[in-house]
């Protein structure tokens, strides 16, 4: 009877975060994915440590380069180690991640913005001391 009854399979196509495939048959492909991820992450790390210490590049560009490399390496870890994809079976995982990233940027960016603004508007410390006399 239930074969003919229409079924709404809400989560039948989902994959848990960390799983590459739902059926678990992933040994050979899985190993290749981890190897590619490891190679890419190593490459980005080496470049980051090299750039941080080199004198070959224009110095003010170094912090931005390091920031971009860090974001890239986090992306490599998410894709090749945690197996987050853009596929329909990962929608829930991606949305949770997007919300987490939003909060992280709000907390860090907001703190830096507010604190630098306060710092900028605060009276220099020697003048403050003189007023208290």
């Amino acid at each position: 009877m239930s074969d003919t009854a229409p079924r709404i399979e809400l989560h039948a196509e989902d994959v848990a975060p960390g799983d590459e495939r739902a059926d678990g048959r992933e040994i050979v492909e899985g190993l290749r994915g981890y190897l590619v991820g490891f190679a890419l992450a190593t490459l980005i790390t080496v470049v980051a440590f090299f750039i941080a210490q080199t004198t070959l590049v224009w110095r003010p560009s170094i912090p931005i380069a390091l920031f971009v490399l860090a974001i890239a390496q986090m992306g490599v870890h998410l894709v090749f180690f945690i197996h987050i994809t853009t596929g329909p079976d990962n929608t829930n995982n991606i949305l949770a991640l997007a919300f987490g990233v939003l909060i992280v940027f709000l907390v860090i960016g907001g703190s830096l913005w507010i604190m630098s603004n306060l710092n900028h508007n605060m009276m220099p410390m020697d003048q403050l001391m003189q007023m208290q006399r």
């Binding site: 975060p17 678990g24 440590f49 703190s111």
Partner: protein, 222 residues
């Protein structure tokens, strides 16, 4: 039965109200087909926890970023940080993340050698990382640059120490998972815990990427 209620599956897809009463179709097995597997629920729940953990780390990162210049006349990051040590630490954590992935493949394939070998190597590299970090902390405290020296050092020890605490807990969890698989085998409930552990370990490596960039590479370059 379904001839009399052709739309039952639409109006009540999980058959919440049927309760498996006598004469009805088996409600539980039908409902189980409509719900996500326990592996997905456990993994997703742990993923939410990890993201909230990362949000907590973002508060420590914000505090560090605000306070990184406030050295109170004491040593700055440029005087204290040894990038060679940090590079070795980074390599250890990256290798352990890779071997943790191998261990999780072994767990899903019920391949004992791959699982135990991967977990053992993961533990080894995690322990080397922790030892190097302890060594660095001890050296800094010995030269008078402990967490009470300046706001910069308070924020540094809080942020890096919190990550180190996570690695310590992760190592204890790792040993627990090896023991549980050894005692109970590759059961579905144990494999869910292995999945959560591997997510935790990979997330720690992601936090370390932000940490070595913002704390060590920025700090040493200033």
């Amino acid at each position: 039965m379904s001839a009399t209620h052709p739309g039952a599956a639409f109006s009540d897809p999980n058959l919440v109200g049927t309760g498996g009463a006598a004469g009805r179709r088996p409600a539980v097995s039908h409902a189980a087909r409509n719900l996500a597997s326990k592996r997905i629920i456990a993994g997703y729940g742990f993923w939410i926890f990890l993201l909230s953990d990362i949000v907590m780390f973002s508060a420590f990162f914000a505090a560090y970023a605000v306070l990184s210049g406030e050295t109170a006349g004491g040593p700055s990051g440029k005087d204290l940080f040894d990038l060679t040590n940090v590079a070795i630490e980074t390599g250890c954590l990256l290798l352990s993340s890779f071997t943790c992935g191998i261990a999780s493949i072994g767990a899903r394939a019920h391949h004992a050698l791959m699982y135990y070998g991967g977990m053992a190597v993961t533990f080894l590299f995690g322990a080397i990382f922790l030892f190097l970090e302890m060594h660095e902390f001890a050296g800094m405290i010995a030269q008078g640059a402990g967490p009470t020296r300046s706001a910069f050092l308070s924020a540094f020890f809080t942020l890096v120490g919190c990550h180190g605490l996570h690695v310590t807990l992760g190592l204890l969890w790792l040993l627990t998972m090896m023991a549980q698989v050894f005692a109970k085998g590759f059961r579905a409930d144990i494999l869910r815990r292995v999945l959560c552990f591997s997510l935790f370990w990979h997330a720690l490596d992601i936090i370390w990427v932000a940490l070595f960039t913002i704390v060590y590479l920025y700090g040493a370059g200033q």
